[in-house]
Amino acid sequence: LVNIFERQQEGRNPFYRVVDLTDETEDPAVWGRNFPFQYDSYGRTVDQVRTRYGGSEAIPRVATEADPRSVVAQSRLEDDPRLRTMWAGYAFSVDFREERGHAFMLEDQTYTERQTVAQQPGTCMHCHASVYAPYRKLGDGDLILGFERMNRMPYAEARTHVTHPVTCLDCHDPVSMRLRVTRPGFMEGIRALKASEGVPDYDVNASATHQEMRAFVCGQCHVEYYFKGPEKRLTYPWSNGGKADEILAYYDETGFADWTHAETGAPALKAQHPEFELWSQGIHARSGVTCVDCHMPYTRAGGLKVSDHHVRSPLLNINNACQVCHKWSEDELVERVYTIQDRTYQMRNVAMDALLELIADIRAGAARGAADADLTAARQAQRRAQFLLDFIEAENSMGFHAPQEAMRVLGLSLEHTRRGQVAIK
């Protein structure tokens, strides 16, 4: 029963619909029967190829009862042990790996040792599984209610409600195939951000342009976040704005801390993958160039142009990702990216060495019984320096998404460290 998807005048959407898709169709294989090109490329996110600062490396391991994975990505903690000191006392100091393709998101979250050293909430699921259908089921049809209910569960229980990593349903309307935002965290976060810009009651699915949607679908997960209050509500800290220092100001005002630093007692913060926030400050965002343009560029498939659903480092796909807009050679484009990333990496290291000095100074200060006021000032400085440094460290483009802004944030981190050392020395 081949029914052709309704064509507008000029005959748009020449997809053969062999199956009907609904808001309950979770299995990507089923969608794949209508859209084989996209399904095939979506499946290729299992590939692991490394670039200088991105991609990922396939590290074989012996599968165990507790962790059946036979391949993982390289450990960032082994690459740079200073991270263990920065995160002392927090789960990240036990296990933190380079991120890899979408296909792995659910198992990597399930089996990270961060699960064994701490009790994680169901909230985690929001960005590592296809939660759209499960949320609606849990909420008896109400997405937000289901979200709230899953947030409150322990991780293990929440895990039993989900089956797939991010899938078609999470980004597409099953009937029109239009892009859509399905994540409550982003719906509420972008509303707060727009409000801070003077736009009240922003409803993303109703108001976003098609072009914006090409970044928002990614911004659902590639953002800084925290768990608010006892109900562990997933919250994007954007009500002061989306820049690193604006987010830091938000945390300072609300007095939130992720954990207490084990070596210094500082009320520490952990930044996580703020790709959407950093990109927003860059020249590409300003020029209307979206995540999808570079990470899911159009590619030729038969007689059609389709979006490459093999979401990956653009450096592995320069021709489609960059060369439509930039006529430079592949080598030259890679060199441009590395030049930007090497500068960022240099300043990241300068800021990190300085931070470790501050941590040592605070320990020494506490040991010799320095004045409480000085210790408090130094700990506040550490909290701030650490968050700003982590903002660029945790962001996954090593500064490429906004080269000058990344350096500004690292510069501010260094400035807080300097003040902290002056306070405690």
Binding site: G11, R12, P14, L304, K327
Partner: protein, 148 residues
């Protein structure tokens, strides 16, 4: 000669000739009616665009009017008359920027033109987008590679 006078003169003859009056004749604007790109290049200010078009991947497949006039025959000549008049007026008064930008109207025409030839290829993405995305955003150099 005052600008308003030129405007009047231009209007008078311009409306008659359908395009910019005295300038029209003098600048061999008759060719405005043809599809010969050289016609556009009659005006030296168009020459850079003519030259960049000659360096473009499309020189062998599309002429100026394929991208700068609408598909329907009526709209085509309306547009030509409209552009012809204003270009003639601007050219005559010298009142235009060195690096001109297509007006929103002509940008839309250029955008739409892509579909004339590439609809089959882009149906999928256009359909899913729910609107025709800007082609020029990524293929800006199509008609005129870097640097006019």
């Amino acid at each position: 000669m005052g600008r308003s006078l030129i405007l009047l003169a231009g209007l008078a003859i311009g409306l008659a000739a359908g395009v910019g009056g005295y300038t029209f004749v003098y600048a061999r604007g008759g060719s405005y009616m043809t599809n010969d790109p050289a016609a556009c290049a009659n005006c030296h200010v168009m020459r850079p665009y003519y030259e960049s078009w000659q360096r473009s991947s499309h020189r062998s497949v599309a002429v100026c009017n394929d991208c700068h006039t609408p598909a329907d025959p009526v709209g085509k000549y309306v547009t030509k008359a409209r552009n012809g008049f204003w270009h003639s007026y601007a050219f005559t008064t010298g009142d235009f920027a060195d690096h001109m930008r297509a007006t929103p109207r002509n940008q839309a025409i250029a955008e739409a033109s892509c579909q004339k030839c590439h609809a089959d290829l882009t149906d999928a993405l256009v359909g899913v987008a729910g609107e025709t995305p800007s082609c020029v955003r990524c293929h800006g150099a199509i008609g005129h590679p870097f640097g006019n």
